[in-house]
């Protein structure tokens, strides 16, 4: 039993429980939440080290052999995702110390944050479809509560759409899992992979694959299923937006990559072509939506969608480099996207609004904040040599290698439009003269007074720059992760399902 596999799930769980029990002790909650977050990150790093050295790691819950119990599996992709989750929760944990109001703190904000992480880590590590459903629900339920906690009108309106559409996604997912069990009699992913590869009832299996595509597609916010995201992401406090923006859709992307590299690879020409086409539409419609928005967080929300398109693109292309590109893209995107939301939160705190029209002049007063915005913003747009460039480059190269010119054209145009809307924010919020004429001293507190907000932003910006300038280790990791993904046998062998493995 490798204890490292369970740690990313029980660390946030126990942290959450302790925070629930310490309900009324706010100072303790604030401190302990950061400790728990740091512990999660460390556990993730330890897990990666183990997997990197010893290959795919497996833990059978309850000691029952696969496929009878629940299996946790950590391959490189899972480890990367867990670490990213750790980075996120640590950043948001620190940011929240200053961003979250007393009201939310007294009503379980911190426990919810950690239980959310529990669900997310669980989703990354589980090797069992039904268990994935459970982790999805843990994640969703905490995200529901985090989203609407505070009960402001916008939150409630956005929350209802978020809840309904995500529940629909869960319903489709649950049905697909049930049908999968009814058809092949197992829910262990490795076992399913073995069974599906036999090719019996391929038609029904492919149909169920499309249901998984839709269910995970809703979570990942791909075209045309993304509606819940722009409806709701701009309503909660900035820190919550940031962790949602960073992680939640990526769980959908992760699961798409997982099932469409491990289980549903019967007819790649069909399923993955659909994915590629959806990727193109996702990129384009997301970026067009962003170009028309005039509120910082709404612009950023639509950009999540368009960026998801790139991540899915790698899956659709289905070559080692393309998948490596997707993995790299996820690493880059989570950091950058969350950071942009965090910066928007600082802007809102300084000026009291997210509306571009009412903002301006921040570059004059806060040049460092400008730099901290530009790093993730340009990275998002793929400006070299920041992290986003490498991600896009890998995908574009991968697409050109197999002559997929249309998707390259889409990717490039979207990249330009992303640059357009990032410079729009830059021009309106930072460059433009401040329409409100703030007197230079009183209402402009120095950034050092916002240390808890700035530290995570600066940290994430540093990661972005590091991934950009020293991308080799990250690429090496992404490429190895992609190799694992494209070699399901390794995964299956590691899980070694008793019945399936003997066939």
């Amino acid at each position: 039993m490798n204890i490292l596999l369970i740690l990313p799930i029980i660390i946030p769980f126990i942290t959450g429980i302790i925070l629930i029990l310490a309900w009324n002790n706010r100072p303790f909650q604030r401190a302990f939440s950061v400790v728990g977050a740091a512990a999660l990150l460390i556990a993730g790093l330890a897990l990666l080290r183990d997997v990197w050295q010893n290959g795919i790691q497996v833990a059978q819950m309850g000691g029952w052999p696969a496929p009878f119990g629940i299996t946790l599996v950590a391959d490189l992709l899972s480890c990367i995702m867990v670490i990213l989750g750790g980075i996120m929760v640590l950043s948001i944990g620190i940011y929240s110390l200053m961003d979250v109001d007393k009201g939310r703190e007294s009503f379980g904000y911190y426990p919810l944050l950690h239980i959310l992480m529990m669900g997310i880590s669980g989703s990354f590590l589980t090797g069992d479809l039904f268990n994935l459903y459970v982790w999805f629900e843990v994640m969703l339920m905490s995200s529901f509560v985090l989203l609407v906690l505070g009960g402001e009108r916008n939150q409630l309106e956005g929350g209802i759409k978020y809840v309904t559409l995500n529940l629909l996604s869960s319903a489709i997912f649950l049905a697909a899992v049930g049908a999968m069990y009814g058809l092949v009699g197992t829910v262990n992913m490795a076992d399913l992979a073995v069974m599906v590869q036999r090719g019996e009832q391929a038609g029904i299996i492919q149909t169920l694959a499309t249901m998984f595509l839709i269910a995970f597609g809703i979570k990942a916010a791909i075209f045309p299923l993304f509606f819940w995201l722009p409806s709701s992401y701009h309503t909660p406090p900035a820190g919550v937006s940031a962790i949602f923006a960073g992680l939640l859709t990526k769980v959908g992307v992760y699961t798409l990559i997982r099932v469409f590299t491990l289980i549903f690879i019967l007819d790649v020409g069909y399923t993955h072509t659909i994915i590629l086409v959806l990727a193109g539409f996702t990129m384009v419609s997301g970026v067009l939506g962003a170009a028309t928005q005039n509120e910082m967080r709404r612009i950023l929300s639509f950009h999540i969608i368009s960026q998801i398109g790139y991540m899915i693109m790698g899956l659709g292309l289905y070559t080692p480099l393309a998948l490596a590109g997707s993995v790299f893209y996820i690493m880059h995107h989570i950091i950058v996207k969350a950071n942009l939301f965090l910066v928007s939160g600082v802007v809102n705190r300084l000026r009291g609004t997210y509306q571009l029209k009412k903002l301006g002049g921040l570059y004059r007063v806060y040049p460092m904040l400008g730099v901290l915005f530009l790093i993730p913003a340009f990275s998002l747009a793929g400006v070299p040599p920041l992290s986003g460039f490498w991600a896009k480059f890998a995908l574009i190269r991968a697409a050109l290698e197999i002559d997929s010119y249309l998707i390259v054209a889409a990717a490039l145009v979207v990249s330009l439009l992303t640059l357009f809307s990032m410079t729009k924010i830059w021009g309106e919020v930072f460059w433009k003269a401040d329409p409100a004429e703030h007197p230079e001293t009183e209402e402009n507190p120095p950034l050092s007074q916002l240390a808890y907000l700035i530290i995570p932003i600066a940290g994430l910006a540093l990661i972005t720059v590091s991934i950009g300038l020293f991308s080799e280790p990250f690429f090496a990791l992404a490429i190895d992760a992609a190799k694992q993904l494209l070699n399901p046998a390794e995964y299956i062998q590691a899980v070694n399902p008793v019945v399936g493995g003997s066939l």
Partner: protein
């Protein structure tokens, strides 16, 4: 039996889908409830139905002897029911709060977060 149950499942889903597309947010809650039942019945039916014979061993036996209903879909449904209850409770209260805050249960008046 399965054929008829399939029809029931289909009707439950259809009714659920219909209800969540209404303009009233209260109907949304009822629709989600129907969808929950539909999902449970779906898993139950598609995991094959076996009349009688619950997967419980009589005392004194140490193995479950044929025929018995497949216990796994039942465990799935149990989990799904419980999770569904939690979600349903939360959604109900959410709708109540939205109703109080917005002042109507008309969905057409809850589109402000989507206006650019």
């Amino acid at each position: 039996m399965e054929v008829l149950l399939a029809v029931v499942v289909g009707i439950l889903y259809a009714a659920g889908f219909y209800m969540i597309m209404r303009r009233s947010i209260v109907k949304l809650i009822l629709g989600l409830g129907l969808l929950g039942h539909a999902s449970n019945m779906f898993i139950f039916t598609i995991g094959r139905v076996m009349r009688g014979n619950p997967p419980v061993m009589p005392h004194g036996h140490d193995v479950l002897t044929q025929p018995y209903a497949d216990p796994l879909p039942q465990a799935f449904i149990l989990t799904a029911i419980v999770i569904g209850f939690g979600v349903q409770a939360f959604a109900t209260v959410l709708v109540k709060r939205a109703y109080q805050t917005v002042g109507t249960d008309d969905f057409d008046q809850m589109i402000s977060t989507d206006q650019p």
